[in-house]
């Protein structure tokens, strides 16, 4: 169980980063909303966990539910850590363009083939997401309103056409790349040389987080 004071320190670190980035809070909120249902779904069962352990339980809703302090702690711990993870990753993706993350992965000796694959996927992801949303718009403008699982076949056919279009696009892309001299290696962006301020920020942040981890218990 991480202490509330440590959580406060971690969250203020994320807030500091987002202020430094001049990032709008709405981005963090949007990402949190996407992830929250799963977090709550799982974490909500935690308060009832320790009931059999013979612990003192307090009644909720006039005794309809029994929760224990340890269960509430487990719930808060998981939910806060989940939220913190989302915020930290959001700060990373807002501060670092994807091609720089890839160059960073190369620096960490991740195999070149994996990094070029990731570069490829990320590039085409947005093209295909746009394609998918055009298909959705076309479907909805024809009055489709799916409410039940046996209507999923429509989505199946859409995903099927999306796949065929993607595969054909990958063939065209491959020919285009070949004709531009592709030899199996994607050129990678060079990381900018680290400056003194980068080191200072890294050291200060790392020691602040580590001391929160070690001393705020």
């Amino acid at each position: 169980m991480t202490s509330p004071r440590a959580f406060a320190a971690y969250f203020s670190a994320v807030v500091l980063i987002s202020i430094a980035l001049r990032a709008p809070f709405s981005v963090f909120l949007k990402r949190l909303i996407v992830v929250l249902p799963f977090v709550l779904f799982i974490a909500a069962s935690a308060p009832f966990a320790a009931r059999e352990a013979g612990e003192a339980a307090r009644p909720l809703f006039g005794g309809a539910l029994l929760v224990t302090d340890r269960g509430i702690e487990a719930f808060a711990n998981a939910a806060l850590k989940g939220a913190l993870g989302v915020c930290a990753l959001t700060a990373l993706s807002l501060s670092t363009p994807f091609h720089e993350m890839l160059a960073g992965l190369r620096w960490f000796k991740v195999p070149a083939i994996l990094v070029s694959l990731a570069a490829f996927s990320y590039r085409y992801m947005f093209v295909l997401v746009d394609e998918a949303s055009r298909m959705k718009r076309a479907r909805d403008s024809r009055g489709w309103r799916g409410r039940w699982i046996w209507q999923s076949g429509v989505v199946g056919n859409m995903i099927g056409s999306l796949l065929l279009r993607s595969l054909e696009r990958s063939e065209r892309v491959y020919s285009a790349m070949l004709s531009r001299g592709y030899d199996g290696n994607l050129p990678m962006a060079e990381l900018p040389a680290p400056r003194l301020t980068d080191f200072i920020v890294a050291v200060v942040f790392f020691s602040a987080i580590m001391s929160a981890r070690l001393f705020l218990t």
Partner: protein, 216 residues
């Protein structure tokens, strides 16, 4: 089924990173040996496709919706090891680029959806195919059953991992996860079958070759 940060114990995350890393090394080595540079665009675009397809919701009950996973689809199309690479790419990009799934849980998510969903899902598919016969109906049945089973299996494994880490009791998470996903699995099965039969009809050369023979 993307596990966030803070839901699984450190021991479990580290073990999953080790297993997923090993599986990634094996499949990348195999991919590098077997496939020419032509496969880089193909695998990359398939990963982008799975990402886009995961954003298409399908209806479940009275307006609620589930979303597609695509692990069995990828393994039927590309073979199990390539499917593992595709899921690895999708999950890593979702994690780093979109904060979907925790960074500390990335190894576990890759293990669940890439290894259990893709590789074990493919083994289930081959197993069912051996029994159901290689007719068109038998093939479609094997694809559908393997898709449904992959969803139920991955969600149950997910529940076990969360319970094993002491985050939530097994007898609450397992029925909740497996129950919801037994239903969502039907959507996955319907979609996978219709996508595979579409590809088999229009572009049979795009199906993982051994399966294409099986269907003929």
């Amino acid at each position: 089924m993307h596990i966030p940060d803070g839901f699984v114990s450190t021991e479990l995350s580290v073990a999953a990173f080790a297993i997923s890393g090993l599986a990634a090394a094996v499949s990348l080595k195999k991919a590098g040996k077997d496939l020419g540079e032509k496969q880089v665009p193909l695998l990359g675009v398939t990963a982008a496709f799975v990402f886009a397809a995961q954003m298409m919701n399908f209806p479940v009950l009275g307006g609620t919706s589930g979303h597609f996973m695509g692990a069995v689809l990828a393994s039927v199309l590309l073979g199990p090891l390539n499917a593992f690479i595709v899921m690895l790419l999708v999950l890593s990009i979702q994690c780093f680029g979109f904060a979907d799934g925790g960074l500390t849980a990335l190894g576990l998510n890759v293990f669940n959806m890439g290894f259990i969903g893709g590789v074990i899902g493919y083994c289930i598919f081959r197993g069912i195919l051996a029994v159901s016969g290689k007719s068109k109906t038998g093939y479609a049945f094997a694809v559908g059953a393997a898709s449904w089973l992959s969803i139920v299996l991955v969600s149950s494994v997910c529940a076990f991992e969360i319970a094993l880490s002491g985050t939530a009791p097994l007898k609450v998470v397992l029925p909740a996860m497996a129950g919801v996903h037994a239903l969502i699995g039907f959507g996955e099965a319907v979609i996978t079958v219709s996508v595979v039969s579409l590809v088999a009809g229009v572009r049979p050369d795009m199906l993982h070759t051994r399966i294409a023979e099986a269907q003929a």
